[in-house]
């Protein structure tokens, strides 16, 4: 069984890797590319900790075969900040103490970034439904929702 060669762009960098056909994009990001920011909470699409954007579309990287990323762009949590500058969402999660253990945080960031790109002025209900696939067991979501709403407000103002 031979490996598959994949050329892709991850957080703006051209990346090539060899993968097995059954490996997921999450496996490859974490085990071959060395980007451990995306987390595996379930491996079955239920928790959202592995969220990435694939060609700009929010997906669970545990539900994408690594081979499918050929020719595509992948954005992970490692690519959200620009150099030393945190993204507004990152800053707002910190300001609102919207993380306790932080294992869900990479997924929450990727998902809420995708939300605000599509809908800069979401209601609380819209934020809650958009993030329903991002499980957080620590916070009860309250501070996360506040942080995302606050980030949206600031990004609209800017």
């Amino acid at each position: 069984m031979s490996k598959i060669h994949v050329s892709t762009s991850i957080n703006g960098d051209a990346v090539e890797y060899l993968c097995e056909p059954e490996e997921t994009l999450l496996d490859v990001l974490r085990n071959r590319v060395g980007l451990t920011g995306a987390k595996e909470g379930c491996g079955s699409g239920d928790c959202g900790a592995c969220s990435v954007a694939l060609d700009g579309r929010l997906v669970c990287s545990c539900l994408v075969l690594a081979a499918e990323a050929e020719g595509k762009t992948v954005s992970t949590v490692e690519g959200i900040a620009e150099g030393e500058n945190l993204h507004v969402l990152q800053q707002k999660l910190l300001d609102h103490a919207a993380l306790q253990c932080g294992i869900c945080t990479p997924g929450i960031l990727i998902a809420s970034k995708a939300l605000l790109e599509k809908n800069p002025d979401p209601t609380e209900t819209e934020v809650r439904y958009w993030l329903a696939g991002n499980l957080c067991r620590c916070t009860g979501y309250d501070k996360i929702i506040r942080a995302v709403m606050d980030a949206a407000a600031e990004m609209r103002g800017a």
């Binding site: 069984m1 598959i4 097995e20 056909p21 059954e22 997921t24 491996g43 079955s44 699409g45 239920d46 959202g48 969220s51 694939l54 579309r57 929010l58 997906v59 669970c60 545990c62 539900l63 994408v64 075969l65 081979a67 499918e68 050929e70 998902a111 995708a114 939300l115 439904y129 958009w130 993030l131 329903a132 696939g133 991002n134």
Partner: protein, 287 residues
């Protein structure tokens, strides 16, 4: 396991048809990858259909819409004209999984996974949707209702692939809706569900209706008694009550970790009742 992503449907069919072991078409992969992970299937061949021309397109056709087999739920939701024509089908599709799952999951995948609880299927069946299937013996059209034959089994034969699903044109003053019962607000599989599509005349009287139920039998149910209960009515309380009772009577569910027979039977009627009222108001009817 081998992974292929052919550019043409002919190549795809050739690959699938000549594979001796288990093969799987890969659309959004939201069922396939979970099955791989749990080692429920160990296919020899995976054929990704997303690079085949037309598979990712939503095209207007004869007043209806043809939805390519690799179009994701998110893309359907972003298509304003499609949403305007078949809001119930789109909302059913959009109920599937999370935003993340929406980025990948497809109508055809949902159909071919053949789960009794598949959300888009009752809505498609209520809409009289038709699948276009291409296989080693050419192309055929098949009503969506005839594709699932039992849990996890479809009527597709070896080498066949659904290339698109057609949602037909519909008369003015039509509306459809889909509702499901789940214990949480999101991220659950339907415990019972109902799709309703109907048309009314200028007096608000229902002239055509189709009512379907999910998760209450091995495959999607079409409940003729429920549609006849509301045809010729303005969804007065008595008509709605008859529809609800007809739906509950049609149920043939199982007891499992997601719900009891009793619960499914009762809530299927409730879902149908509520979906009918939404469809009616979408058709322009007022109560």
């Amino acid at each position: 396991m081998r992974f292929e992503s052919p550019d043409t449907i002919e190549q795809a069919i050739g690959l699938l048809n000549t594979c001796e072991g288990t093969s799987r078409v890969l659309a959004g992969g939201t069922d396939v990858l979970v099955q791989l992970r749990l080692a429920l299937v160990e296919p020899e061949l995976i054929v990704d259909i997303k690079h085949i021309a037309g598979m990712r397109d939503i095209t207007a056709e004869d007043g209806g819409f043809r939805i390519g087999a690799a179009v994701s739920g998110a893309e359907m939701g972003e298509h304003a004209d499609l949403v305007a024509l078949w809001p119930g089908v789109v909302e059913a599709m959009e109920l599937i999984g999370s935003t993340q799952v929406q980025g990948r999951a497809t109508l055809a995948g949902n159909l071919c996974n053949a789960s009794p609880a598949a959300d888009s299927v009752p809505a498609m069946v209520a809409a009289n949707a038709v699948a276009t299937i291409v296989g080693p013996n050419g192309t055929r059209e098949c009503p969506v209702a005839d594709i699932p034959v039992s849990p996890s089994k479809t009527s597709l034969t070896k080498g066949e692939v659904i290339t698109s699903i057609y949602l037909p044109a519909r008369p003015d003053n039509s509306g459809d809706a889909y509702l499901r019962f789940i214990p949480r607000t999101e991220m659950d599989i339907a415990v019972s569900s109902a799709g309703v599509s109907l048309t009314i005349n200028c007096d608000g009287v229902v002239t055509q209706a189709r009512v379907s139920l999910g998760a209450v039998a091995p495959t999607v149910l079409v409940v003729e008694d429920a549609s006849s209960a509301i045809i010729g009515t303005k969804l007065e309380d008595a008509a709605i009550a008859t529809l609800q009772a007809a739906c509950s009577a049609a149920c043939n569910p199982i007891d499992d970790k997601r719900g009891t027979v009793e619960f499914r039977t009762k809530t299927a009627g409730v879902m149908a009742k509520r979906a009918a009222l939404i469809a009616y108001s979408r058709a322009g009817g007022s109560k």
